[in-house]
């Protein structure tokens, strides 16, 4: 009965959304804009969501979410266009799609590859949404048992784990990035005593650092500088004749689709780790489990299906920690968090009480976005391909203007712009030195949560750290944090590999 009532409520929300013609306009415009943002190399889903946040803050929350999620879903899918047709990934999430998508296009199967990505992305988004609606209430219920001790550790867990999967050079560079993010979050008056920290006498800094300009700076400015420095001179896009949804191939790939979706959802739920990691992991797994791994990289449809299912399934996964714990699962989800905060929505365990029905609303919007993405993808594909001819030197300065005016529009504070550029240039150099940016951003977002809950927890325990080690969830979080950190240390990993080799594998017979 409860399930029937839930379904009834879901369809009521869906029809309410559809009854507003303005939502239709936002849905289609957001999707098309998202596909264009994804298709253009140099523009990313995160940047798209960031810029749209600045344009939708005046709208009602439901309409704003329609536009933002449509942009998110469209951009993650749109990245495959450039990957398949010009062999340059439109977004990092579609980098793995190049491997088999472009060889398919070279064989004259560009239309088939695009049809496959459209269908796989559609299924991935739907499965991600199903996971969201299935797991979010459970996690919310569990999170209600959390106290300051757990929330403090959860914030550190988010920062540590987002760095563990995104560090490329020295493992501790991700920790440095996380600490820098936390340091930025300390600027302004503290929440408990209202004491001004690191404000240097500037009254504009007393309110703290606004998240959206920092996020726009961290994701937008480095992208602009990098692309202007190394312009993307795309080759002429491959010819595309007919774009048809290839349900037959998808039908033969059901196992691959299900596995990739699960990988995408799982990786999406890990804080700060985005669609790119999901696509690469699922590509690797699809190749390793295939009967014909030698065909991968030469235009194997299974490779395209694996990447595109996973990166879109990641969206639903990324929304799970965002809505239940207030911890973004991916960089675009971090932007969504900023947008939600602007609209007065505080994601976290209390969300179902503060805004009952919000989860259902997000689920309904995700469903609409996936349908819109599928229809726009099939119908407008040939028009979007024309966009690929636009030179990056022309559209990135325009993006620069949108970053500036967008950041200003949110708080009408010129200091936000100064910060945006400072953070952006610093982020550019950090990226150049292979510091991952995800932990920095997660640090800025979760910093206030870590600070407030650490002090609140110590107040409850009168300065004792003992409850951190006596509460079961706290202990689990501490052990997980330590394991994640240890797992990044090369010496520990070598020993771990040697141990597993000793235990599970037979030693070669002595000569």
């Amino acid at each position: 009965m409860d399930i029937v009532a839930q379904f009834g409520a879901f369809f009521a929300v869906l029809f309410t959304l559809l009854a507003n013609p303005f939502n239709w306009v936002l849905l289609i415009a957001g999707t098309v804009l998202g596909i264009v943002f994804g298709a253009l190399p140099g523009l990313t889903a995160t940047l798209g969501v960031a810029l749209l946040t600045t344009l939708t803050y005046g709208l009602p929350i439901a309409s704003a979410m329609v536009a933002l999620l449509a942009m998110y879903v469209g951009a993650v899918y749109g990245g495959s266009y450039a990957s398949i047709l010009i062999n340059i990934p439109g977004t990092a999430a579609a980098a793995a799609t190049c491997l088999d998508g472009y060889p398919m296009a070279l064989r004259g199967e560009g239309g088939r590859a695009l049809g496959l990505t459209t269908t796989a992305s559609f299924i991935g988004t739907i499965l991600g949404t199903v996971a969201l609606v299935a797991f979010a209430p459970l996690i919310s219920r569990l999170a209600l048992q959390f106290t300051s001790f757990e929330f403090c550790l959860l914030a550190f867990f988010g920062i540590v784990i987002s760095g563990s999967l995104t560090a490329q050079d020295l493992f501790y560079k991700s920790w440095i990035a996380g600490l820098l993010g936390l340091a930025l979050a300390c600027v302004g008056r503290d929440n408990l005593q209202s004491y001004p920290r690191f404000t240097f006498g500037f009254s504009q800094l007393e309110g703290g650092i606004e998240i959206v300009p920092v996020l726009i700076g961290a994701f937008g400015i480095p992208q602009i500088i990098k692309t202007m420095r190394d312009p993307l001179h795309a080759a002429k896009p491959q010819e595309v004749r007919k774009i048809l949804p290839d349900w037959g191939t998808i039908g033969r790939q059901l196992k691959n689709v299900a596995r990739s979706a699960m990988i995408g959802i799982g990786i999406g739920a890990v804080p700060g780790v985005g669609e790119d990691v999901a696509a690469w992991v699922s590509y690797g797994v699809a190749k390793n489990t295939s009967k014909n791994p030698e065909r991968f990289g030469k235009g194997e449809p299974a490779g395209v299906v694996a990447c595109e299912t996973a990166n879109n399934a990641c969206i639903g996964g990324a929304l799970i920690p965002l809505l239940t714990l207030g911890i973004p699962g991916s960089p675009p989800a971090a932007m969504l968090l900023g947008a939600l905060l602007i609209h007065g929505v505080n994601p976290g365990p209390n969300l179902p009480f503060e805004r009952p029905g919000f989860l259902l609303q997000v689920t309904a919007i995700m469903l609409l976005c996936s349908a819109s993405m599928y229809v726009c993808g099939i119908l407008l594909c040939r028009q979007v391909i024309k966009v690929l001819r636009a030179p990056s030197e022309v559209f990135l300065p325009i993006v620069g203007v949108l970053c500036v005016i967008g950041s200003y529009a949110i708080g009408l504070n010129i200091v936000n712009l100064y910060l945006m550029v400072l953070v952006g240039v610093a982020a550019f150099f950090l990226i150049e030195m292979e510091y991952p940016i995800a932990p920095l951003v997660i640090g800025v977002i979760l910093g206030p949560m870590a600070d407030e809950n650490l002090r609140r927890a110590l107040m409850v325990s009168k300065g004792s750290f003992l409850p951190f080690f006596t509460r079961p969830v706290s202990v689990i979080l501490i052990v997980t944090i330590l394991l994640v950190m240890l797992n990044q240390v090369p010496a520990y990993r070598r020993r771990q590999t040697a141990f597993f080799d000793r235990v599970f594998r037979r030693r070669p017979a002595a000569a």
């Binding site: 005016i405 010129i414 870590a450 600070d451």
Partner: protein, 252 residues
């Protein structure tokens, strides 16, 4: 290998920067209330606002030391110190482009946007930024970047010393017009420099069209559509307001 040395060299310098940041954070944290009273409340160490900053700074200090030691161990520190005395090699193409991009963005945000009419500032920024890179000619990129900074830097410095005119004053409008004249002058000079380059002139025409259309569109969309006051509303935005007032009876 060369890439590794370059990275470790950079690590050496960044570790020093992190040292400075961490030390400054610790010094600043020690000025925050620990056990003394603040705003009538007697503090205890675990409620102190200095608690997290101290933890962060200590962590940063430890990691900066690790980074420094690694740079020393792998030869990055030696390479970094060794390159100090040598004259810096002429900037490569990529470095010039990177510096030009940073300079133009910084000039726009720190120099023009807070002071010059939004439409004029944005049109100038877009014209310079697009043309500098889209035309694909290094000498034009240099010329446009220097010319842009020659406008943005004095505006920033004048405001810093409190000599930039206040908003709404005739001298402020006059300065907007001066920047608009610079915009027109740069157009003419760039066009003349492209003499004989048909493809270049075609690209510059696109640049001009894009810079004017985007500036106009964003001005109108934010000011009259989203009702967001622009960072600096000067002569051109005032003209737009007058036009809007004059046209209002048509849709009312």
């Amino acid at each position: 290998m060369e890439e590794q040395i370059r990275m470790r060299k950079a690590d050496f310098w960044t570790s020093l920067v992190f040292f400075v940041i961490a030390t400054a954070m610790i010094a600043s944290a020690f000025t925050m209330p620990f056990k003394d009273s603040f705003a009538g409340v007697q503090n205890v160490w675990y409620v102190s606002p200095a608690l997290l900053p101290l933890a962060i700074a200590t962590g940063l200090l430890i990691l900066a030391t690790t980074l420094l030691l690694n740079a020393v161990r792998t030869g990055g520190a030696k390479a970094a110190v060794g390159s100090l005395g040598r004259r810096a090699a002429a900037a490569g193409e990529a470095t010039s482009r990177m510096l030009a991009a940073i300079a133009i963005i910084a000039g726009y945000v720190y120099g023009l946007i807070p002071r010059v009419d939004y439409f004029v500032a944005t049109a100038l920024f877009l014209q310079v930024f697009i043309a500098a890179f889209y035309l694909g000619r290094r000498e034009i990129m240099r010329f446009l970047t220097v010319a842009f900074l020659a406008v943005a830097a004095p505006a920033f410095l004048a405001d810093l010393v409190g000599r930039y005119p206040s908003p709404g004053t005739p001298s402020r409008y006059a300065l907007d017009l001066v920047v608009a004249l610079v915009l027109a002058g740069l157009c003419v000079v760039t066009w003349r420099r492209l003499a004989g380059d048909v493809a270049g002139r075609r690209r510059f025409s696109i640049t001009l069209a894009v810079s004017l259309v985007v500036s106009l569109f964003t001005s109108v969309a934010f000011k009259f559509g989203l009702l967001v006051p622009l960072p600096s509303e000067g002569a051109i935005i005032r003209v737009m307001e007058e036009i809007q007032i004059a046209l209002r009876p048509l849709w009312k």
